[in-house]
Every structure is written in C-alpha cells, then in structure tokens.
Symmetry: C2
Subunit: 505 residues, 2 copies
C-alpha cells in the first residue's frame, strides 16, 4: 500500500470547501422554508445563487481536474472499499458530470426552471396544460442537451437516471416497472372492487395542530431520531429533511387538522431520512462521502420508517395509546386493529402525494412511461395531458377531470423532464429488499415494534446503509447488504401479503 500522497490531502481540502459551501446553501434553503420573512425571497435567491456558483466553481476548478489525473496511479493501488478510493471515485464522478455540462447550459437550465415554475403556476391558475406546454418543451430540449453533454450508451435517459441513481440504467428501471405493473394493477383492481371495507372516519375528525405536533415529535423520537442535541422538527408547507452534519439534522412536517395521518406519517417519513443523515459517520462531515448513496436509497429509509414500520400492526399497537392520551375524544373508541386499517386504506387517487402503498408506484410508473415515450419520439408533448388521462384509466381505473388534478400536479417538471420520479420506486423496492434481509437476521423484529423497540432495525440499517455514506452505488449497497441485485420480489411479496390480509382477498 502506498502512503497517502500530499496531492490527496490537497484534493480533500478543496472538497471540504465544496461540502461546507453545500451545507451553507442547505441552511439558506432550510431557513427560507421555515424561518425567513416573506419579503426576503429575492435577496435569498441571490445568496443561494452565489453560494451554489462558488461551490460549483470549486468543484470544477482546473486544479481539481489536475489532482484527479495525478492521483490515478495512486487510486489503482487502493482497496475498493477504502474511504480513500471511494473519495476519489465519487469526486471524479462529480467532477466529470459537473465539467461535462457547459456553464451556459447550467445558466439556461436555471433560468428555464425559474420561468417554468412561473408558467406552471399560471397554468395551474388557468387549469390548462396548454399554458404550461411551451415551458415544458423548452425544459425537454434542455434535458436532451444534458443527455448529450453527459453522454450515454444504451438510451439517452440513462444519463438522467444516473444523475439520481448512480449506475442504474433505464432498462433496469423498465424491468422493475414491468414486475410492478403485473402485480399492482390487478391487486389495485381487486381492492377497488371492495370499497367501504375500511372505515377511516375516526382519523378524519378534528385534531388540533399543537397536539398533532406533540404526537409527531414523540413518534420521531420513538423511532430514534435525536431531537435533543442533534436535530430539529419544524413546520413547512412541504415537509423535507436537510442536514449540515450528522450532528445537525432538521426535519419538517405539515399538519392537516382534519386528517390525523398527514403529520404523523410525514414526520415518520422525514425521520427516516433524518436517521440516515444522523447515522452518517461524523468523520465524513466535511467529506464528499458524507451524504446518502442516492435519492432512491435515501427514499428507502424514509419509506421504511413511514410505511413498513409506521403503518405496521406493531407500531399502531405501540403508538395508539399515546395518540389516545392526546386525543381522548376523537380516538377513544378506536382499536389498534381499527387504527392499522384506517391508516392503510387503499383507494384509487388522482394525486401522487396522497396515494397509498399499493397505488403509489403506479403513479410513478405512469410518469416514467410518459417521459420515456417522449424521449423515444413516440409521444409529443402536445399530447401529454391526453396520454396522462389514458394511463390513469388503464392502471387506476379513474380519469382526472382536469389538468390540475392530472398532468399539472407535480412541481418536478417545472425544472426537469425524464427520470424525475424513479427514485421513489427505487426507494420502495430497495427499502423492502433491505428490510426483508434485516428481518431474516433479527429474531422477532416486528414483535419489538409493538413494544416501541425499533433499535435493532435502526442499528441494522445503520451498519448496512447509513455508515457507508456515499461510498457505494445503490446497486453495490443493496448487493453488499442483501447478497442480491436490486429486485422487486421482497417489495411485491410485502405488498401482496399486507394488503390481501387487510382486504380479505
């Protein structure tokens, strides 16, 4: 083993600046969403643009390129698993991506995103996709430029998939969706034919905001999120998680006073992201390795704690008494089983963010199929709204009555097009693959949930996921943890088992 060259330390020093600037940018964003006075939006835009610009300039500086070149021979001598090798891998990957996209393209994407957002708002106001279409045409053209700038082998979308899920290919994503489609579409149909099976009336009563926040806080702490010295929970319009080190991880939630599950499960979702961030090694706090493996793997953790744990019989048994002490009038007559069923009600919905575990990935699949059809030249953006409705009819048996509840619902397409949603599905699939492995290794895992004991699962995820930071690609991480490539089996087995039981199918 060669000793660590000075050039490596120099590179790590520059990367630390990049990481610290990214964390400063993350604080600017967190503050904007939670604390900032309303009149400050324009000034905050300037702060964020400047910090982003300088982080990008640091990462793409000729010195970084030179150091990466000079360190190639050294890198070849390092064990693949070492932090040093991983640092060089990830730095090289980020450097190459960042330098391949010309600065003027970045500016044009940024401007198109800002304009796209405004146009999207106008289109929503008018409830008319045609208003948004020109902005989406522009965005799509820019995304094509990006795919060419980044390069691809099998399919142009590969370049965009790789941005979110390093190493994954469009063909793999399609294969995942083929499996999901074959199981989830008929399962959904079977469930939709049994409406009225579940009564969620009791969770649709009036639940005052402050008590809901107290419940959410308790739930986050129960699963192990450190709100004491290393975390915060605040309110924002769209719940999110951000972090500036493993010692400063901030989650947000939102409250719907007429629907108890909104805040509770949004909080557990973000707490799942938060456990990942708090579980990253402190040694990585200024390192380019100090973040999650990918958007999808991050989503695996949030969906795990929200759905697989939070919406489990065990968690419901554990947490209902706590909810009942906060809401004795509303939940007095509710049984754990009734609560479990109420928070797992399945129904065909038009809106992705309101979808349940059975239908959620159909929403994602529809979007990916449409994006891919456009990239393949089989669908024109002029026909997107109509194609959207046709897909909803096919897969969910319902048709959006207007664009607002259809093609105009997501903010994602205001700034991007192609692979915008796949990480959610990668998250569901990898999450269950990881979970099933943990369950096989930990005796009586789920019985612990009913006692409020989540430590074994959290620690398993910490060892197998969190502790690696960004060292591995999603595929590598899943294979190391489970011994198998990313596959839909565990996810589909879980979904079928859970919902056939609930719906008596």
């Amino acid at each position: 083993l060669s000793s660590r060259p000075e050039k490596y330390d120099r590179l790590v020093g520059i990367l630390a600046d990049v990481v610290n600037l990214r964390h400063a940018a993350a604080l600017l964003y967190w503050d904007q969403q939670t604390m900032m006075p309303t009149a400050a939006a324009q000034a905050r835009g300037h702060h964020m643009a400047t910090v982003d610009k300088l982080a990008h300039a640091k990462l793409t500086s000729p010195e970084v390129g030179q150091l990466l070149d000079d360190l190639k021979d050294h890198e070849a001598t390092l064990p693949y698993d070492s932090d040093e090798a991983a640092t060089l891998r990830v730095a090289r990957r980020q450097y190459e991506k960042a330098t391949r996209i010309p600065p003027d393209l970045i500016v044009r994407i940024s401007l198109a995103g800002a304009e796209g957002y405004v146009t999207w708002r106008q289109a929503r106001e008018a409830n008319d996709y045609k208003v948004f279409q020109p902005a989406l045409e522009r965005t799509y053209a820019l995304m094509r430029e990006v795919t060419e700038a980044l390069g691809w082998e099998d399919h142009p979308l590969d370049a965009l998939v790789d941005e979110f899920e390093p190493g994954l290919k469009t063909a793999q994503i399609e294969a995942l969706f083929d499996d999901l489609r074959a199981t989830l579409v008929p399962l959904g149909q079977a469930i939709f034919n049994r409406p009225g099976t579940i009564d969620d009336g009791p969770v649709r009563r009036h639940f005052p905001s402050e008590a809901q926040l107290a419940a959410s806080q308790e739930a986050a702490v129960a699963v192990g999120f450190d709100l004491d010295t290393r975390g915060r929970l605040d309110l924002s319009v769209h719940p999110f998680t951000t972090s500036f080190s493993p010692c400063d991880v901030r989650i947000t939630t939102k409250v719907d006073e007429s629907f108890l599950p909104t805040s509770l499960f949004a909080t557990l979702h973000e707490a799942g992201h938060g456990l990942y961030e708090q579980g990253l090694p402190v040694a990585f706090q200024e390192s380019i390795l100090g973040e999650g493996a990918s958007s999808g793997i991050h989503e695996s953790q949030s969906l795990l704690w929200e759905n697989v744990v939070g919406r489990s019989r065990g968690f419901c048994e554990f947490f209902l008494p706590r909810l009942r002490s906060l809401f004795p009038d509303q939940l007095g007559g509710m049984s754990p089983e009734g609560f479990y069923r109420a928070v797992n009600k399945v129904q065909p919905s038009l809106i992705r963010v309101d979808a349940d575990e059975v239908t959620y990935n159909l929403h994602v699949m529809i979007r990916f199929e449409l994006e891919k059809a456009v990239f393949d030249g089989r669908l024109s953006l002029g026909d997107l709204a109509e194609a959207w409705r046709a897909k909803f009819k096919d897969y969910l048996g319902i048709v959006p009555p207007d664009d607002l509840s259809g093609v105009l619902q997501d903010i994602h397409w205001t700034g991007g097009f192609g692979a915008c949603f796949v990480s959610y599905t990668v998250g569901h699939v990898s999450g269950l693959q990881l979970y099933e492995k943990a369950r096989a290794e930990i005796p009586d895992l789920e019985r612990g949930f009913a006692r409020g004991d989540f430590a074994a699962l959290r620690e398993w995820m910490n060892r197998n996921v969190h502790a690696h930071g960004r060292k591995y690609t999603p595929q590598e991480l899943v294979e190391r943890a489970t011994g198998r490539r990313l596959e839909t089996g565990p996810y589909l087995t879980y979904i079928k088992g859970k919902f056939k039981d609930i719906y008596g199918l």
Copy 2:
C-alpha cells in the same frame, strides 16, 4: 461625466459575491445563536470558516486590486456623493485593509481568539486574571502586529480605531473622553450621594417570560420595526441584530423574569439597530455600501431607541398602559412618572452591560484608558487587574471584589485588545448629536412619543443616516446631518438635564 466603464460593473459583480457570502455567513451565525442543535458547534465552525475564507479570498483577489487601479482615473471624475464614487472608496478601503494583513496573521489571530476564549472561560471559572493573562499577552502582541501591518501616523491605536470607526483618530477619542470625564464623574458622585431616591421595586417583581416577549414585540413594532414581512424577533443568550438584506432583519432579545427592563430595553436597543438595517436602500442589498456607516453610528441608533426614546417620559407614558394590561398585578399601582424613574435608576455598578446612562461611558472610558496605557508602554498586562480596580475606585467609587466582576467580565478581550469598546461611546455621543438636530427640526417631537408616534424621528434618521448606508465615514455623516463635527455637547447637555431633573440636583 464619463460613462460607467465595464470594469466598474465587473468590480461590482465581484463585490456582490463578497456581500452575498457575508450574508450567508451572517445566517450561519444567526442560526447558531438561535436555532442550532447543541451538538453542531464544531461543524458550524467549519461552515463559517469556509464562507469567511472565500469572502476574504474574493475581496483580496488580484483581479480586485487590478480593477481598483484601472478605475482610479474614472473615480476622479465622479462626484464624491455619488454611489459609484462611494462604492469605489469603500471597496478600496476594504481591499487595502484586507490585503495589508498577511494571511498567516489572520490565521494566528483566529486561532488565538479561539484559544483566548477557552482560556478566558477557564480564568472566569478560577476567578483569576492570572490564568487569562498569557492569552491576553498573545492577543496584544498580535494587535501590535496588526497596527504595523495596517500602518498609522500619530498613534498605533489609530489603526485599530479606524477598523471600527473609519477616519476617527485616537486623539479625537481621547478628547471625547476628557469631556465626558469632566462631567460624568462629578455627576455620578452627586447621584450616588442620594441613594434611595428611586424605588424600582415594582419592576423587580415576577414577570412571566411569554408576556414579556409579547410586550417586547409590541414595543419593537411600536417604534416601527417591521416584524410582519421583513423581520423576526427571537431569543438568544446575548441579544444581537443581524440582517441579510433590508427585507430580512432579525433581532433577538433575552428575558429576565425577575427584572422587567431587561427584555424591553434589550429589544428596543436591537430594534434601533434593526431600523437602521431595514432602512438601508434595497438598491444596496448586494452592494458593499449596504451596511451601516460604522459600529459607532450603528450604536447611535440602538442607543437612541433604547435610551433617548425608550427611557423617555413620553415613551413611558405611552407604553405603561400596555405593560399594565399584560401585568395588572405587578404594575397596577405604578404611575408613568414612577415607571420613568424606575427605568432610569442610576447606581455605581461593576458590570458594564448592567450600567445606566450616566455611568456607561465611564465603563468604556476605563477600558480605553487601560488599553491605551498598555499600548503606550505605561502599563504592563501583569498589572491590568490592579489598574482596573484603581480606575473603578477613581471614577465610580467602587472596587470589584474579584476578577470575575472586574477585568474578566468582557468577551471582547478574548480576541482583540485596543479600541474594542470605543464604538459604544461614539454611539452615545453621535446619537445625541443627531437627536438634538432632529428635535430642532421636528416640532413637538417628544410630545409625539406619549401618543406612540415615533414616525417623524424614524423618518428623520432614515433620511439622514439609514439611507446613506456605508457611503460616508462617521465624521462625514454627522457633519452632513448636523453641520458640526462630532462633539460631546449635545450628549452631555442631555445627560445633565435628564438626570439632574430625576435626582433633583
């Protein structure tokens, strides 16, 4: 008039990056003091160091030096009052100061400051100045290096005075203190000989924190601080003000449940700083001109709203009814005149931050005299604690029983020595000079206070102080606003008039 050269725009673009980075750094600081989880201190240090370093690197880049050189001829053609000329003046000034101090000296000062803080804490723990002395010796040696690096003509302290109060000289500061000493020492003696004249018992009852915060918020809004869309009020251990644009100005306060004035007047003090920041031109928000003229001029505004307005008969008459509705039991029997007297009680105190209007500047003077004696070689740092005690006996008639309530009380000397405190006195003096001019120009100014009408004073300060940002030096600003150079007359007239009346002297 020559047209604006491209090089000027280029320079302004770089300065905008510097300003945006400084604002990002300010948010990192605000968050640290108000929101940050306790375990995050170390990581936050890295974020701040990186952002500071990059702001400094931007400002001191050779390109900035070249642009400033290239623009000299252009600058000579500009009217002194123009934004362009002022931008070049201030940029040149900051560039020259920043480049004169060698980078290794900045690092040594920063490290010595961090160590000095730790040593100061240890010395306070041990209640022993001798523990702190070595750290202070080091800091003093570094400050001598700074004075030599920056350069000076009449006295080395000029270099440090100029850092806080551009254009002011040590000799001028000394002359101010000569005036203050001659009036304030005998005035203090006369008042101390009449103890018991004022009963502040009613403001020393129990005042619950939440109601105090509500009162503080109301007071800040009453004087015109925009808490609605352009500001915030939060809690922190040490009250402070920061801002990231005129549209995002944040003040903090602290609450003492057994002493009502703490939170109320800390809030009015910070609201005074906040009015200055909210009053800066929005057009300066990315400009190097977008901050106050100096620490002293900033302090003129905070002291004005805290003392001259907040502790006036008019304000007490206006605000007591509001306090009484929040605290009917505690303040039920209090008259406006009684409240006015209670919040203006004068007593010789050992602690600067607890000092009243009469004695505050004696505290500052003692520190400046000691700093200057050390710089003049007339006092060794080994004798500082003893010299401190002697000065207190001379000027305030009391002697600190220990170092904790004596020479170890201020955090300022952990990172600097020399001119650390003079801005407070510049603030008192210039504040009254500005106020007296406003009063001469605005009919019935003080009668408005009793009706809660502070708009005329605020607007006068906005026109004469806030609107200029950093365009003028303190001296220039005061001269433009009042027609006279900085002078102690208005301040001493105010102090004598107010306190001879209150104490019946």
